[in-house]
């Protein structure tokens, strides 16, 4: 511990991840600093830090994105290292450079790695050139003459996309290659009509894809290990909701292949610090999707099954230490599940919700990483993730049972959350059997509906409300004793 070249770490982030990072910083005997916008003045992260440094911006989000201000304030405070968390500036290569230039250790990969993997096309080509699996595709622009032929070679099922498109418009799934030529013609004319540009590209379409990602750690000496995979297929509109480790859908052989591919990619990129390689998996095949050059939201499930503190590893690696262990030192025990608690109304199309945090009680013996506290307020200023509930069980069934119990026992009053929706997901037969894919939630719109409470529940809720509302209690107490005893008598 005393061998670390920095005595303090400034967290350039907020909410639950700031609290989580500061926790490890403290455990390692270092001083924890955090930047904060006025909107977060009373937040748990600010209270947890040894020093809190105010930053300003046109909007709260803008403040956390102001790299120059953060570096300046970190320098003035004498911070030895900066941990960017996730989101905000965590994958901003210029920021990483600016931090280093200021003589502060950046807790993360090199700016080059950030830039490489940040450019999705560059990253894909890098990975493909080194023989790792990428989804077959054909880009018309590369050679318009051979496009149709190359498109056919991609193989079915495939997705025809307009080059100039977006928002899902003009995409066509082709499952039968005999239809390919016609579909190309139609897609071209749609592209022309919607975007004024008829150029296309084609990509292999994975039906009912699963999102499998692998945690990797690399040091400055070229050592890379993987810490197994996480399954993140329970998503809604590309936002992850439930993550778990290990994946219930992989055979041991597939597991080995995916994890080793991830480690291989990280090694090939000379990757340093923590990162995650994301794959799309379906029907026995998997393809590289992208690499995230930062700590991810769902990292806790890996921590639970491997026993590693990833933030501690990040800090050690950033300090220049070698990993000090090999792949065989990493084992996966039991099963972990993380549930993301959002301030959302699932039955109103997941509209974000706001409100005061009047009561917040977390169940004992359950890891809850959260950025809220009783007395605070959930506002629309930041994204609506309130907390992560992480459970670990001897096997998946036990983990699911613990997860459901944790959600039932977690009390958050004052702002509506998706807790009931999460419990319905946990109870879903496909989820339980492990038959998941990223379209599962979209296929089951009924899950989003909060069922109306039954009569017995309604009566009890009304009883609680009646006794709690001053107006109702006062009206009851105002009736004189005699008349209250007589009840609704009439002559």
């Amino acid at each position: 511990m005393s061998s670390l070249p920095f005595r303090s770490v400034l967290v350039a982030n907020r909410g639950e991840i700031a609290v989580r990072i500061l926790r490890t910083v403290k455990t390692l005997g270092l001083e924890g600093y955090v930047v904060f916008h006025a909107a977060d003045r009373d937040s748990p992260a600010v209270r947890a830090a040894d020093r809190a440094i105010e930053i300003t911006g046109a909007t709260p989000v803008a403040a956390y994105l102001d790299g120059a201000q953060i570096v300046e304030k970190a320098k003035a405070a004498g911070a030895g290292a900066i941990h960017p968390g996730y989101g905000f500036l965590s994958e901003n290569a210029d920021f990483a450079r600016a931090v280093a230039a200021a003589g502060i250790v950046f807790v993360g990969p090199t700016p080059e790695a950030i830039e490489l993997m940040g450019d999705k096309v560059r990253a894909r080509n890098f990975v493909a050139e080194r023989g790792f699996p990428v989804a077959p595709s054909a880009i018309e622009d590369d050679d318009p003459a051979s496009f149709a032929e190359r498109a056919r070679a991609v193989g079915a099922p495939l997705l025809i996309k307009p080059s100039a498109g977006g928002g899902g418009k003009g995409m066509r799934i082709v499952r039968d290659l005999a239809m390919l030529d016609d579909e190309i013609v139609r897609a071209r004319s749609e592209g022309q009509r919607y975007f004024g540009d008829g150029r296309l590209y084609v990509e292999r379409y994975v039906e009912r894809p699963r999102h499998i990602e692998v945690q990797v750690l690399g040091d400055a000496h070229g050592n890379v290990v993987h810490l197994f995979e996480r399954e993140c297929s329970i998503q809604r509109r590309f936002q992850k909701i439930i993550e778990e480790s290990p994946s219930p859908g992989l055979t041991p052989d597939e597991r080995t292949r995916i994890c080793e591919a991830a480690a291989g990619i990280a090694r090939a990129a000379g990757y340093r610090n923590a990162g995650t390689v994301e794959f799309i998996y379906g029907a026995g095949e998997f393809y590289f999707l992208e690499m995230n050059t930062r700590l991810q939201v769902e990292h806790p499930v890996t921590e639970e099954v491997t026993g590693f503190d990833l933030v501690a590893e990040q800090l050690r690696i950033a300090a220049g230490a070698p990993l000090g262990y090999g792949q065989d030192a990493v084992a996966c025990r039991g099963h972990a599940i993380e549930l993301r608690l959002y301030a959302e109304d699932s039955s109103r199309d997941f509209t974000p919700t706001t409100g005061p945090v009047l009561v917040y009680r977390t169940p004992p013996d359950v890891r809850v990483d959260s950025g809220i506290a009783e007395g605070g307020r959930v506002t629309a200023a930041f994204d609506p993730m309130l907390a992560k509930v992480i459970v670990h069980g001897a096997d998946r069934a036990e983990a699911i049972a613990k997860a459901d119990k944790a959600l039932a026992e977690l009390v958050l009053l004052g702002c509506r959350t998706n807790a009931a929706f999460l419990r319905r997901l946990l109870a879903d037969p496909d989820f339980r059997s492990g038959a998941m894919h990223t379209g599962l939630i979209a296929e089951k719109p009924g899950l989003a509906e909060d069922p109306p409470p039954d009569q017995a529940t309604i009566a009890r809720l009304l009883g609680v409300a009646a006794l709690s509302l001053r107006a109702v209690r006062d009206a009851a107490d105002a009736v004189p004793r005699l008349h209250a005893a007589m009840g609704g008598w009439r002559n």
Binding site: A475, D477, V479, L482, H483, A485, M486, G487, W489
Partner: protein
């Protein structure tokens, strides 16, 4: 306190026959009350709906606290007047709880002749306000009336206790500091405009409520001015320009919500403290009252049996049990309140009259409200009693009743005839509340006796002219008199004329008295003082 030990055999033929008779009287009462409250010609209900008005009974539900008792008074007023066309005299009067406050409600029933005021309607409103004054009860007026019933104006306008008395009573209530709230749900025309104007608070419904001394037709006739109801006296004008009303409401429901909030603001009354203990149900089943009251009201029975079924735990502390035994006197509790009970167990003799006068003073001195249970045909007559001063003794009882400061409550249980009624706190002696049981009549003397007396006069007159009458001819004179008498001495006639505050089912009496005693304690009890007792 010892419990009254009942001697009644509830399985005897007499008991069962009485019960059957009295139950059917009670059923008849409930049926007639239900009709008086609810049965209306469909066209009148349709008219209300067209005018966007709630039926009176629904207005009441919107106003009252749910799950609380409501004692309705004089439901059957005018049931034997105006050809029975004006049920309840077109008025509703009753004591209930609104936002926790004890209030008395006076409501025009617009489903009866448009809420027009007949002579008995005016009498009922004046009585309601007299109750408010005597008991210091806050008043809520639900105003929705077509105005005075012109064809009978001679019986409702000019005299001392006619329509003017309503507004005089309102002013006196205000002088006493007793709050009044008016909810204007329809027209308040001419005199009726004074009801909201004399109230401390008034709510007026936009579109249906209106206040004006003269309506548009009268204005046009008087000055030629053409003006709409809304412009002349509607909610917005009166709540923002003239200041005659205080709160505009967008609908009746809105008006009642506002009204409830207003009443909730009123300072809770300071009740006069009297002896009280935790209430207890009577030890004997009140349903047995039906079997105790005789089918023929001339049959004698022990009033203690009746008392036992009205009072807490049937505990009764009898006063002077061996003296003046035709008047039962004693202390008991009703809904926890200590009361002094006087109940007739025969005709009044000298000693019973003296006992009554003494007991009344005793209760007055120790601040115990008085309950009179009437079952009286009169005082004892005859030489011996006159020599002993029965007129004097009756006068002493009357002096005591009239002078008593404690609240008095009277129930005519089984008949109240002749001068005995006076000593037993009849209507003229200002009991705070007076009720009649369905089989109980009241008149100056019994029907048989009266018929005999009147036909006797006729017979002797004819005899002086030298004529004698056959039995049939006697019957022909006597029977119509008897019929009229029976009709005019019935409980239904008394209640029709508002000689009482309503007919009560005997089993409802205990609850009614509890509510009445509670209401009465809103007023202070003065110190005892009397006139001269001729000793």
């Amino acid at each position: 306190m010892a419990r009254i030990v009942s001697q009644i055999d509830t399985r005897s033929e007499a008991f069962l026959a009485n019960a059957e008779h009295n139950r059917s009287l009670a059923e008849e009462l409930h049926r007639r009350q239900k009709d008086a409250r609810f049965k209306r010609p469909q066209r009148d209900l349709d008219r209300l709906a067209r005018q966007d008005k709630m039926f009176l009974r629904d207005r009441l539900e919107a106003l009252l606290d749910p799950g609380t008792p409501f004692l309705e008074l004089s439901t059957l007023a005018a049931n034997m007047a105006y050809d029975g066309d004006v049920p309840g005299a077109g008025q509703m009067s009753g004591i209930g709880i609104v936002s926790g406050r004890e209030v008395i409600i006076h409501a025009d029933d617009a489903s009866v002749k448009g809420g027009a005021w007949y002579p008995l309607s005016v009498k009922k409103i004046v009585r309601t306000l007299d109750i408010a004054i005597e008991n210091r009860l806050p008043v809520i007026h639900l105003c929705d009336s077509a105005g005075g019933f012109l064809p009978l104006q001679r019986d409702l306008f000019a005299d001392r206790y006619y329509a003017g008395r309503i507004f005089r009573n309102q002013s006196i209530l205000s002088k006493m500091g007793v709050p009044q709230l008016s909810v204007v749900l329809g027209h308040c025309t001419a005199g009726g405009a004074y009801i909201p104007a004399l109230s401390d608070y008034s709510v007026i419904v936009r579109g249906t409520g209106a206040i004006f001394l003269g309506g548009p037709p009268l204005v046009k006739a008087a000055t030629g001015e053409e003006v709409t109801v809304e412009e002349l006296g509607g909610a917005d004008m009166h709540t923002s320009v003239s200041g005659t009303a205080d709160y505009p409401a967008a609908s009746e429901a809105h008006a009642f919500a506002i009204a409830r909030e207003i009443v909730g603001q009123w300072t809770a009354a300071e009740k006069t403290p009297i002896d009280w203990a935790e209430p207890e149900d009577p030890y004997y089943d009140p349903q047995e009252l039906y079997g105790i009251l005789p089918r023929d009201s001339r049959t004698v029975f022990d009033m203690r049996e009746l008392i036992a079924r009205l009072i807490d735990g049937s505990h009764f502390h009898e006063y002077q049990p061996a003296y003046g035994t035709t008047l039962v006197c004693g202390y008991a509790r009703i809904w926890g309140y200590k009361v002094g009970i006087l109940a007739n167990n025969g005709v009044l003799f000298n000693d019973s009259a003296l006992k009554g006068a003494h007991f009344i003073q005793l209760c007055d001195k120790n601040r115990t409200p008085l309950l009179f249970l009437q079952n009286i045909t009169g005082f004892m007559v005859g030489k011996e009693y006159e020599r002993r001063g029965i007129s004097k003794d009756g006068a002493k009882m009357i002096m005591a009743v009239s002078g008593a400061s404690v609240p008095k409550f009277t129930i005519n249980c089984n008949g109240a005839f002749g001068a005995g009624v006076y000593g037993m706190s009849g209507r003229a002696f200002d009991p705070r509340f007076m009720f009649t049981w369905p089989g109980a009549g009241t008149s100056v003397m019994g029907a048989e006796q009266a018929a005999n007396v009147l036909s006797d006069i006729k017979i002797r007159q004819l005899a002086r002219e030298g004529r004698s009458l056959s039995d049939d001819e006697i019957a022909a004179i006597r029977d119509p008199v008897l019929e009229d008498y029976k009709r005019e001495q019935s409980a239904y006639y008394a209640t029709s004329e508002l000689w009482d505050d309503g007919i009560l089912d005997p089993v409802d009496t205990r609850n009614a008295l509890g509510i009445c005693i509670s209401a009465a304690l809103n007023a202070p009890i003065e110190k005892p003082h009397y006139g001269v007792f001729r000793l």
